[in-house]
Structures are given as C-alpha cells and as structure tokens.
C-alpha cells in the first residue's frame, strides 16, 4: 500500500504543524489588521504586513461543505474508503477554512453549518493531524 503523504515542514507552515503536535490549532494572524490567513501565506493578503504571528484559535467552527470519497487514488487511503473530507470554517473569521476528516460520526449526520470541534490525531512522533468531530449543543464533543 502506498504511503500516506505527510506534511513537509517549511518556514510558512512550521507553526501550524508544531502547534498540532502540541494539540493546538495555530493559524497565522496579522498583528496590524488582525486578519487570519490559511493556508499560510508569506504576508498578510489583506494589508500586506510581512510578519504574521502564529496564533492559537478556539478549535471551533462550522461545516462549510464536504464530500465523501469512494474512489481510489489517494495514497494511504485505499483501506479507508469511503471517507469524508470536510471544509470547516473556523469560528474566528468568515472565509477562514481548514480541511480535515470526520472523526467519530457518519457523513449522514452532516449539514452545512453543523458545529464542529477540532480533535488531534497523532500519526507518528513528528506529525499530528488536526481532525474534526461534530460538536454537541453544549459545546462539548459527542
């Protein structure tokens, strides 16, 4: 079976993956205009400020959209079919979105706007992946 491609750290994404390893969701934020940006960019795409600051966010969001993969083609996922790929809009900012898989639920439970909560999946000593659970109404995880 082909190997799962794991993130290669670079100067733009290091804070994100180091944060995930510490079970924190860390997003680059502009200290000048306060805008978050993800995936990481080399400068603020809103005001062009050049030094973005890694900032821990709440780990809460809502489901923007999703699909359920039924086909082969992604290395490392041959044995996981079918699986959901989620696009989660973070609570901190409209249009601030991350990709993840659904943990602990069924795709049939999903709808646009479903509240989501980050959870962390340790893959190996170097990489932990932020993933997503459906959040319970009381703010906890179900």
């Amino acid at each position: 079976m082909a190997e799962l491609p794991l993130p290669v750290r670079d100067d733009l994404n290091r804070a994100y993956w180091d944060g995930a390893q510490a079970e924190k969701l860390v997003i680059l934020r502009c200290p000048a205009c306060q805008a978050y940006t993800h995936p990481p960019r080399a400068m603020c795409t809103t005001c062009w400020h050049e030094e973005l600051v890694p900032t821990e966010v709440s780990g809460r969001g809502t489901l923007y959209s999703w699909s359920v993969m039924h086909s082969k083609g992604n290395p490392g996922f041959e044995d996981r079919l079918p699986y959901a790929v989620l696009i989660v809009e973070l609570a901190e900012q409209k249009d601030l979105r991350v990709i993840g898989n659904l943990v602990g639920g069924q795709p049939s439970d999903l709808a646009i706007g479903t509240p989501m909560q980050v959870v962390f999946e340790k893959v190996n000593e170097d990489i932990t992946l932020p993933q997503w659970r459906i959040a319970a109404a009381d703010g906890g995880v179900r």
Partner: protein, 378 residues
C-alpha cells in the same frame, strides 16, 4: 463603449478526431490528423499559418515541425489558463489584434495509460498548500469540485433528477455524434444507479478521459472571403479570475471565476444571454453547468437545477445546451469539442444533430478555478 476587437476574427475550419479510449496511434499522429483536417476544411494553404495556440501535454513545437510551418508570429497557450474555449479565445484575440493572420488552435488529450494518474495532484508530496490536503486524502481533482456541488444541493436544493436530466440528454445528443465515445442512450435509472466516485459526484457526472484532438483555423474576415466555409464571427472573448489558487481553498463556493469572465462578455459582444440560440457550457463534471448557467447570466443565482429539471437544456427547450453531448458524453477534450460543435452548428454542418435556425451562441466555463468565454455568430 464599443469593442474594437468585435467581429475582427472568424473561425473558418474545423478538424476533430473521434474520441477514443484507445486510438491505437500516437498522440502526435492523431493530432496531425485533426490539424490537417482543419486546414483542408478551411481551404487555406498551410504556409499562411502564422499563429499557433494550444494547451495539453503535447509539445506544439513538434507539431510546427511536422506541419512544416517555417515560423509563426504568435505562439501561446489558452486565455484564462484553462480549457479549450480559452485556446480558441486566445487565437481569436491574436488575430483580431493583428498579431497573426491565420491561427491554428488545437487541443490534444490522451487517455490514461498504465502508470499515468494525472487526476492526482499530489505528485510533489505534501508541500505548500498540498500539505493541508494530501494527508486528508484530498488530492484527486474531482474532490476539489465535489464540495461545491454539495453546496448547490444543500443551499439551492439541486436534485439527482435535475442533474440526471442533463446527463441523460447529453448521452442522447452524443448518440447523434459520430465522434462521441458514449453513443448508447441511458435512462434516468441508469444515472441514479451510477456509483458515487466522490459523493455527491457520481461516475456518470465525470467526463471519460479519451484520446482526442480538436482543431480550428481562425483568420480575419477579409482573408475568409475566398475560403471554403461560411465564416463564424467571434464577437467577444474574455477571461476572469479571483484571488485564490485552488478549488478546495476557494473563498466562495457559490460563484465561479466564470462570473468574472462574464463581466465584460456581453457588453463586448453587444448582445446578452437572452440572445443566444443555444449555449456550449463546460461540463467536465456535469454539475459545472449549474455555475455556467448562473454565472453567465442565463438563470438567476441558484436556479440552474430548476432550468435542467424543466428540460430547458434540450433541443426543444429555451436554451439547448451542448448538442454534441458535451464533454460528459463526447469525451474529455477540456471543452474543445464545444468549440468545434459551436462552429459546425452555426455553419449548418452538424448533421443529424443540427439545431434549426441558429445564428448565435456562446462558449463558456472552465475547470473550477479558471475561466474563459466567447460569443460567436454566423
């Protein structure tokens, strides 16, 4: 403001190979067949060709050598970075602007071979933005459109039956197209029974990758006067874009960059969507036509599904779509089949699929994050 490029380029020749799962010959060989067919169809001497525009995997400089073109003054890719419409649009733009007099525009596609999985976008590893998708099993191209379609279903209420009505019609259209790869009609039940590839996308929503080449010859209205075919005028060519690099991290799944290709299209052409006798809309995944319909202004936002459900896309409807069967059923040409068909329809040369009394059309769309459009008339 009038558009100085309006009607300054005409399409005068068409060449098109069959769409085949296995052509049994090299891409260069079948590309040359389509290109020489287009040149002969136009009735022009190859020595007059001074522009070449294409997109794809083939090295077009080898095509230049094979065709014996001693030199060109225009050599480019597609307008809008995308699909077949953009290739024709850029060639028309070059002719209209006086950068060349006779342009050859073509697109060659190859069916997958063992070891070639070009739909997978992760061959460089989980670097850059791909570091945030590949570890989640999100590296196959259709996964970057499936969640857009999901929103059309969830927000607009688009149904399987509405998209099925489109796919069934494309297969019916393709049954009258000798170049199509899928010529057997299907039923709604066949569509509904089609397996999911990336839910909500079904297998029958995806165009079949094929060996194919389409080619057209574009020149000036003056040069066209003593050529063989009735010229088809290009009255506008546009592209548009927005500031995001990928479908999956796009900021707004409810509008495609088509909206920005549409921005100047109608004013440049001097006509509106209501003037189109039919339309050639990009359908590499069938629900892309929902975005073409709304973003080019044929239906109000969110109403594409109802348009299809009412059969408005049929030959008998208010706006027949893709009479050749679209990429959906003719085969994947990145939309160049749309270009060839638009010309043949306006010239009255579309055989048993010829629409009655058609004089103007548009070609529009692109592969999620690219876009182009043209307006054509006879």
């Amino acid at each position: 403001m009038s558009n100085p490029l309006r009607d300054r380029a005409v399409i005068v020749g068409v060449g098109h190979t069959p769409s085949s799962r296995h052509m049994g010959k090299s891409p260069m060989r079948f590309t040359l067949e389509a290109c020489t067919q287009a040149i002969e169809d136009a009735g022009i001497d190859r020595s007059e060709i001074d522009g070449i525009v294409t997109v794809g995997t083939l090295n077009e400089l080898e095509v230049l050598q094979h065709l014996g073109l001693e030199g060109v003054t225009y050599h480019a890719g597609p307008l809008g970075g995308g699909v077949g419409g953009g290739v024709a649009a850029n060639a028309a733009l070059a002719v209209a602007a006086g950068l060349c007099d006779v342009a050859l525009a073509f697109v060659t596609m190859e069916a997958p071979r063992p070891g070639i999985t070009y739909n997978y976008m992760g061959h460089n590893g989980a670097r850059g933005d791909d570091a945030f998708t590949l570890p989640y099993g999100d590296g196959v191209f259709m996964q970057h459109f499936a969640p857009w379609y999901q929103r059309r279903r969830q927000i607009d209420g688009v149904t399987d039956e509405q998209i099925g009505a489109y796919v069934v019609a494309m297969r019916e259209n393709a049954s009258r197209n000798p170049n199509a790869v899928w010529r057997e009609p299907i039923t709604m039940d066949d569509y509904l029974g089609s397996r999911y590839v990336a839910d909500p996308l079904r297998l029958l929503d995806c165009d079949m990758p094929v060996d194919v080449c389409g080619a057209v010859i574009i020149t000036t209205p003056e040069r066209a006067k003593d050529l063989k075919q009735k010229p088809v005028y290009v009255s506008a060519m546009t592209t548009g874009q927005r500031p995001r690099p990928s479908g999956i991290f796009w900021h707004d799944y409810d509008e495609m960059p088509y909206k920005w290709a549409a921005k100047r299209l109608w004013s440049n052409a001097g006509v509106g969507p209501e003037d189109m006798d039919f339309a050639m809309l990009y359908d590499g995944f069938s629900p892309l036509v929902l975005y073409c319909l709304q973003d080019f202004g044929f239906v109000p936002k969110g109403m594409g599904g109802e348009f299809l459900g009412a059969g408005e896309h049929l030959a008998t409807g208010s706006l027949p779509l893709n009479p050749h069967g679209g990429n959906n059923s003719e085969g994947r040409s990145w939309g160049f089949g749309h270009v060839c068909e638009a010309v043949l329809q306006l010239q009255g040369r579309a055989g048993e699929r010829q629409l009655a009394d058609v004089h103007t059309t548009m070609i529009g769309g692109g592969g999620v994050v690219n876009s182009s459009a043209l307006v054509l008339h006879d």
